[in-house]
Amino acid sequence: MLYLKAEKLDAFLARAAETRKLYVPVDSEPGRSSYREWTPGTAVSRGLHTTRSAKDFFFPQTENLAGFRVEDKKIRVIDPRAETEDFAVFGVRACDARSFGILDKVFLADPVDTYYENRRRHGLILSMSCRRPAETCFCKNFGIDAAEPEGDVRFTDDGDGWYLEALTEAGKAFLDPLADLCEDRDPAGAEAAKEKTREIVDRLPLNDLPVGKFGGGKTKELFDRPEWAELSEACIGCGTCTFVCPTCQCYDIRDFDTGREIRRFRCWDSCMYSDFTKMAGGNPRLTQKERFRQRFMHKLVYFPENNGGEFGCVGCGRCLASCPIHMHIVKVMKRLGEDENEQ
């Protein structure tokens, strides 16, 4: 099995960056990292999570959809897209790696979102096993193995370096030319590292969420639960949870007048925003309770209902860490999952 020693990482990334843009997590301050384009000398973060998820690479916060020029009172429509270049994202954890599959179910469903699809086709996922999960991690609940992330190439971290496995053809094509920077090692080492990860994961405090209480077909049971009022009471209606979430994909479409043309772009939107569903005729979700409920119902009921039981959450824990008032999916699941008798 290929093994990349930690001290060889720079050389590895340098080579990888010759053929495509390479994005790696970089510490912006202690305990906080974000993706940057790799350039020689970039120090790769060893932290667990980037503050924003890796969905940005495929579903950026803003993206131009179309342009319009009005010339002599005639409209000329312009496709603003340039050719997408190949790129790779390094250090994607198991939860984020799973999130791409969830986004695919939305954007690649008929009719295919060609903007997303285009990026997806050009993007390579270099995933990374977790060695030091946080207390906020709860991916295990959704059947995600932090030790064996999905992706094109899997990096299994043993503390000194990484065991590398190509999981897809694209991954193989990427990895083969880089094999000379690696050494060959017994896959048992990889297994040992994975076991170590699983050992920690098993000790995590949020492993036993009442997942069974949720899923497709539970709308009737959950929609009118009185607890929504108390759960949403403190919600300030910001979009933090949705914007750091690797699976949230709601967007808005807007026009911007650059002076020479009208540019139609889409941008992230949040179902938590008071004006999300506002329209000329009124707003069907008037209170924060309804908006709050929508977000969690979507992730825990509607999405699985439409997608073969898969939840719209990967348990990355970003919302737990960043919610201004610490009201998040775990508290929601726990509260709604409480046995009716206990109440």
């Binding site: 002076g259 009124g282 707003n283 008037l286």
Partner: protein, 663 residues
């Protein structure tokens, strides 16, 4: 999408010489919403206006843009034209391509490009204009005149003659003002008091006029047609209803050394006094600063001698509140302080006097009974030097930048009168220029020089030094002869600058009327609206607006009255529809807007709102009184939520202009 018409004016060659008007019309015609774009030599002419009107009708235009001169010039013209063609007048925007384009640029390509941009900005704005309808408000048929000098008197009399009630508020115990202190008037040399006092009496006797003497304006609120004014009636310790003006008290009062302001302190009066013989109202007043009774409770003599029991030591200031449709500021002027000019030794010698003091010294009712005597020793002066432009026409740090206008003429008058009455007296006048533009003015001055032998010296006085012998050494230069002069004078008369009344500024603040840097009230338009303040319903009469002589003052006073009468004759007033308004659904009720509103146009109330989820919510929301709002827009910026916006200059309109101009 709206249908917009664009009309580009050549203004003869004023615009067309520098701006390719055809190109402007053609380019703007290609804008998406423009359905007609024309150019014409004179849009403001009747045929130009007809072109606009016809286009509005033919194309069913929703808005028009006129590329022409400044909106300050013809906005109203075009609005009226639009209205007569059935288009709301506020659907008109002007692109100023003359004052702000053709007149300031030379390069035709550049100017044309800019004109197009300005046109585009106006189109962007007019696309967001909304038809506005001016609100109406009633008119209180009563006028207030602040100041009882000749300006106020004339204005009040004219308004009263037209049948409207007028109140005069005068801070002194009598009306009459400065003119009452003058001896003779130029150029006719008739007696000032003789022509003024009958008018004062007319005021007192006119049923439509009410005089609040010894009174001040305390506060003003409201707006054109409907002002509410609080008047402070200062305690005069004499019951006006009882006092007959017999003057007995003023003779018996033991406090005799009170400087007599009517005679500018050149003699004394008593603590209880009637300012002068012909005072209107002829009612005594007690000077609380000097009266023994009021100061320490000892005396009471006047009360004892008063046969009608009019003295009332317990009197206090009282307040009157009255509503007015129009307010006239006629606050007049004061003599600027000349003691700051040490070189003229005004403080060092009693024989250096101001012209107004000279008036009193020459007046039959003055301290000397009309005989010209030196204040220091009561002797007849044989050499008199007049110094012109004292404090006028200076750099701002030295004095007033303006010309006080009346000094040249009154000095000629004084010189002439002295030479006539005392031919043994030599009179010298130091001047910078002699300014005599006025009917019979130059003739008058030439008579002083030619017939009366007054010595006019073009030059400045450098220093005046009192000599031990009581004369004054006047050191000056004669620019024409190019020599330094020393004149030994018995009396020096300073033609002191005149300045607006000290009370004018606080009054202007109350009236929300604007002032220039010299504290003269600003007129709404220096040429076309010279007797109106920019604040609607506030009018200007007399010197408070700028230096002027008596005939001019009276002319302005009557003009002002005509304007007031015009206003009071209306039953309803159309307001400016470009006012602020608050979107109740967005208003937070924070009061920021009310805090910055200079007119108190914004009030708050708790209002119940039906929410979309059928609950009700009580919220505190702002309301703008459109009749009070003047449309400055201060509130719109103070409002964080953007609930407050200004009609005619809305956030989106201004931003649309910004966008268009930055392209």
């Amino acid at each position: 999408m709206r249908k917009i018409g664009v009309f580009v004016c050549h203004c003869g060659t004023n615009i067309a010489a520098t701006v390719d008007v055809k190109a402007v019309a053609e380019t703007l015609g290609r804008e998406p919403s423009v359905v007609v774009s024309e150019d014409y030599p004179y849009m403001c002419s009747e045929s130009g206006q007809n072109l606009i009107k016809d286009s509005i009708r033919d194309y069913g235009l929703d808005g028009i843009v006129i590329c022409s001169c400044s909106p300050r010039m013809h906005e109203n013209t075009f609005r009226k034209a639009a209205a007569s063609a059935g288009l709301n007048p506020y659907m008109v925007e002007i692109a100023n391509i003359r004052e702000q384009c053709s007149w300031i640029h030379k390069d035709k390509a550049e100017a044309t490009e800019k004109a197009i941009l300005l046109g585009k900005a106006a189109i962007a704005k007019v696309l967001l204009n909304t038809p506005l309808i001016a609100g109406e408000s009633g008119v209180v048929k009563r006028a207030l005149v602040i100041g009882g000098g000749i300006a106020g008197i004339q204005t009040a009399l004219d308004i009263a003659e037209a049948g409207f009630p007028v109140d005069i508020v005068e801070q002194k115990p009598t009306i009459g003002g400065k003119m009452a202190q003058l001896d003779k008037t130029f150029p006719t040399l008739d007696c000032s008091a003789c022509i003024l006092t009958p008018k004062m009496v007319d005021c007192a006797q006119n049923e439509n006029i009410k005089i609040y003497s010894y009174s001040e304006i305390e506060s003003v609120s409201g707006f054109v047609g409907n002002f509410t004014v609080k008047i402070r009636r200062k305690a005069r310790y004499v019951d006006e209803t009882k006092c007959t003006g017999c003057g007995l008290c003023t003779e018996k009062c033991p406090v005799k050394k009170v400087p007599n302001e009517f005679n500018l302190g050149l003699d004394n009066r008593r603590a209880v006094y009637i300012p002068f013989a012909q005072a209107v109202p002829k009612i005594a007043a007690i000077d609380a600063d000097y009266c023994n009774m009021l100061k320490n409770g000892k005396c009471g003599l006047c009360s004892k001698v008063c046969t009608v029991g009019a003295i009332d030591y317990k009197q206090e200031d009282t307040f009157v509140e009255e509503r007015y449709g129009a307010i006239v500021a006629a606050t007049g002027y004061e003599i600027a302080d000349v003691s700051r000019y040490g070189e003229y030794a005004y403080n060092q010698s009693k024989d250096v006097v101001t012209s107004l003091e000279l008036e009193r010294l020459m007046n039959a009712a003055g301290p000397t009974g009309g005989t010209l005597l030196r204040p220091s020793d009561g002797k007849h002066p044989h050499t008199i030097v007049f110094v012109q432009c004292v404090g006028s026409r200076c750099t701002p740090d030295k004095g007033k930048p303006y010309c006080s206008k009346i000094c040249c003429m009154y000095t000629a008058k004084h010189a002439m009168l002295i030479r006539e009455k005392y031919p043994d007296t030599e009179v010298y006048v130091f001047y910078i220029d002699v300014r005599t533009p006025g009917k019979n003015f130059d003739e008058f001055w030439r008579r002083a020089v030619e017939e009366f032998g007054v010595h006019y010296i073009k030059g400045a006085v450098g220093k005046i030094s009192p000599r031990p012998d009581g004369t004054l050494d006047v050191q000056g230069s004669d620019l024409l002869m190019d020599e330094q002069l020393h004149i030994s004078a018995d009396l020096v008369v300073l033609a002191a600058a005149i300045e607006p009344s000290k009370t004018a500024r606080s009054l202007a603040t109350m009236l929300t009327a604007s002032m220039d840097t010299n504290d003269f009230f600003t007129e709404a338009h220096p040429k076309l609206r010279p007797v109106e303040s920019p604040t609607a319903g506030i009018f200007l009469s007399g010197v408070c607006q700028g230096p002027k002589d008596i005939p001019e003052t009276v002319a302005q006073a009557s003009a002002c009255a005509a304007k007031v009468i015009g206003l009071l004759s209306k039953d309803k007033l159309k307001g400016n529809p470009c006012v602020a308004h608050s979107d109740e659904m967005m208003c937070n009720g924070c009061s920021n807007c009310a805090n910055v509103c200079p007119y108190g146009a914004i009030t708050y109330s708790d209002k119940e709102f039906r929410m979309p989820d059928r609950t009700t919510k009580t919220r505190r929301v702002a309301w703008v009184n459109p009749a009070v709002c003047q449309g400055c827009g201060a509130c719109t910026v103070a409002c964080p939520s953007g609930a407050m916006d200004l009609l005619g200059f809305s956030n989106s309109q201004i931003m649309a202009e910004v966008d268009a101009l930055c392209r």
